[in-house]
Amino acid sequence: MACVPLALVLVLGGCGAAVTKRADPALNLEPTGFRTEVNHWPQAGGNDLDFMEVYDPWEPMNRHIYDFNAGLDTYVLLPAVGVYRTVLPAPARKGVSNVINNLNELPVLVNCVLQGKVRKGAITTSRFLINSTFGLLGVMDLASDAPRLQRQDEDVGQTLGFWGVGNGPYFVMPGFGPSNLRDTVGFGGDSLLLYLEMMQVYRLAGVRNTWDTAVAEMVVRTINRRANVPFRYHQTGSPFEYELVRYIYTKKRELDIQR
């Protein structure tokens, strides 16, 4: 099962940029011997951008993982998304995305409860009930048509943050991207909740070969997740992309915990 998409990636993969090669010794960027007389070397102390600083003691390792993730994205995930988009038409992809979002409502609900967020919990419950029934097991996201029933976002990382657990060191999760120590632990918690939920779903659905099904589900979840995130590595046009991503991630999580 799971091998089919992988094989397709290998066949159709590498559909990145078509490269034309040119040689011109004048363009080799040879050293010019030029040095500026004035310099703006980094100095310790107050600065206009110091709000962008994030506690990142593991930075050298994180930067390597970031680089690895960028490679994984370029050579595996994005080609897989390309295949996915070729094979499945847009309405079908929307359906897949809706089903996954619907299954994810339960961990969200658990986290609403753990934080005592009644309104968010009620919205999430209503959404799950509506979409699981009238939405044909989540294929259609009917609930989102109602302005007051927009999808809520809570996870174990936010729950820990809500109860006062700090970020801890910034951490780039291999394969998954920006995080921090608290959110990585939270990620483990959410994965466990999903695992428990999916085992029940498999049992209800009478799935016998749970291992293969779980692997297939993982692949679909991964591709769906990537297909729905517009971010592309090295597309910010900034050599400081790692710093920008780190800041935006940290700021967004801080606000999400307050939401």
Partner: protein
């Protein structure tokens, strides 16, 4: 400017439109008729933002964006210069990326040059690609020579901002691309366009081609060009100084903007942040002209600092990165350089880096020549004589002053179309503006 959000999703509310029309009819048929006539007279141009800073930052409301017809997915392509010594930390940017959208069969081809610091697939570039593809052109979209990818992968001298060098680089790359495209699809004739700094490049490229004759451009369309690169960047630089901010520091001003956006996001009951959300956030957060100028200034400064860092590392000029810090490895924290770079104005870069570097290459170079050769004054007589070059822009463009406008009017005359509002590229996606743009190219 990269601030205006991406919003191809167009939401029209026909119900509300019908209701309001019906109300007018109820008030009286005569009145309605009068209103209709009046509306038709002004229907040409009703771009909503009359404040040039709002226009520049907000762009065009989603429901007033020109719809270019069936969408095309541009093809990503790259040029690799073999033997080029690309610094290790920029290995991901070793190829020069560009994108194409080619028709099936013979068609005219248009090159589009991006604005300052923008890449070939920036929002405005993608929009122009769709528009010209929809109008029947093969489209080739190129990053600005001031974008780090261009600097690292394709620039001969590695230090952008001196227009003659940047135009040399673009011209060379365009000749290569011409070969690539012509091997795939027949090209009937060549056109060139660009917005902002890319518009200035487009004019210089048309001038260069008039001497060399490789493309024989049929028309060059300049969209919101600066007249003098250095006059315009000085204005942008000034918005991060006390001249704009008064007593408040840049740091405090940015913090205050971030706090306002954060509050909006925190109170929004939405998880999926799409383009419409971002557009609403930017337009609904309360910002006065000082705030808007700061945003434009910060956006520009961030592009400039990316460019300056890339340039300094490529040339190892010791401007931002001390020689002792080399070799820069991929694990090296770059935040200290980002912070130092953010404090450098474009004028600093010109005086402390670019000019001395040009003098290193050619001792006869001076500041006046550098500035003049990076302005339209340098090709004034060509621009006056050549009917090929046309210009579209706005009289309230925030990067132009009165002298610049007078220059445009006297040099281009009938070949310039100027709208009263729109700021700097704010109306570039607005329906009537786009139609005028296409009409001018096809003239």
């Amino acid at each position: 400017m990269a601030i205006a959000s991406r919003h191809f999703e167009v939401t029209i509310n026909p119900a509300r439109f019908m209701t309001s029309s019906a109300t007018v009819l109820f008030v009286g048929a005569l009145l309605a008729a009068v209103l209709c006539v009046a509306a038709e007279g002004a229907a040409d141009y009703r771009y909503p933002y009359t404040d040039p800073y709002q226009a520049t930052v907000y762009g065009t409301p989603p429901d007033q964006i020109h719809r270019p017809g069936p969408a095309v997915s541009p093809k990503l392509r790259a040029i690799r210069i073999e033997g080029r010594k690309v610094p290790d930390i920029f290995s991901y940017s070793a190829d020069m990326f560009y994108s194409t959208a080619l028709q099936k069969g013979e068609a005219p081809l248009i090159f589009i040059i991006a604005g300052t610091g923008a890449e070939h697939n920036a929002i405005k570039m993608e929009f122009l690609t769709q528009v010209f593809y929809g109008a029947g052109f093969h489209v080739v979209a190129l990053s600005s020579p001031t974008h780090m990818n261009f600097v690292i992968s394709a620039s001969r001298h590695g230090a952008p901002g001196y227009v003659p060098h940047d135009v040399d680089d673009l011209y060379r790359v365009m000749l290569w691309i011409k070969e690539v495209v012509e091997a795939e699809q027949p090209v009937s004739e060549y056109y060139i366009t660009g917005y902002s700094l890319g518009a200035m490049h487009a004019a210089f490229l048309a001038h260069r081609d008039s001497e060399k004759g490789d493309f024989g451009f049929r028309r060059a369309l300049m969209i919101n060009p600066p007249v003098s690169l250095y006059h315009s960047v000085k204005r942008l630089d000034s918005w991060l100084t006390a001249e704009n901010l008064g007593e408040v520091t840049v740091r405090e001003q940015i913090a205050s903007l971030i706090a306002r956006f954060s509050d909006y996001y925190r109170d929004a009951d939405i998880t999926d942040l799409d383009d419409n959300f971002l557009y609403e956030m930017v337009t609904r957060v309360n910002m006065d002209d000082v705030d808007l100028r700061t945003l434009i200034g910060v956006d520009f400064r961030l592009s400039a600092s990316s460019m300056i860092f890339a340039t300094d590392v490529c040339l190892r000029a010791g401007y931002l990165v001390p020689p002792a810090d080399y070799p820069l490895t991929k694990s090296k924290p770059l935040m200290p350089y980002a912070e130092a770079a953010f404090d450098i104005s474009f004028e600093n870069y010109m005086d402390e880096f670019l000019l001395p570097y040009l003098q290193h290459l050619d001792p006869s170079m001076d500041r006046y020549t550098l500035m003049r050769q990076s302005s339209l004054y340098d090709i004034r007589s060509y621009l006056m004589e050549s009917d090929k070059v046309v210009l579209i822009g706005n009289t309230d463009d925030v990067i132009l002053n009165d002298n610049d406008l007078a220059f445009i009017k006297s040099v281009f005359g009938e070949r310039a179309r100027l709208y009263p509002t729109g700021g700097h590229c704010g109306n570039m996606m607005y329906g009537p503006f786009v139609e005028a743009m296409l009409a001018m190219v096809k003239l």
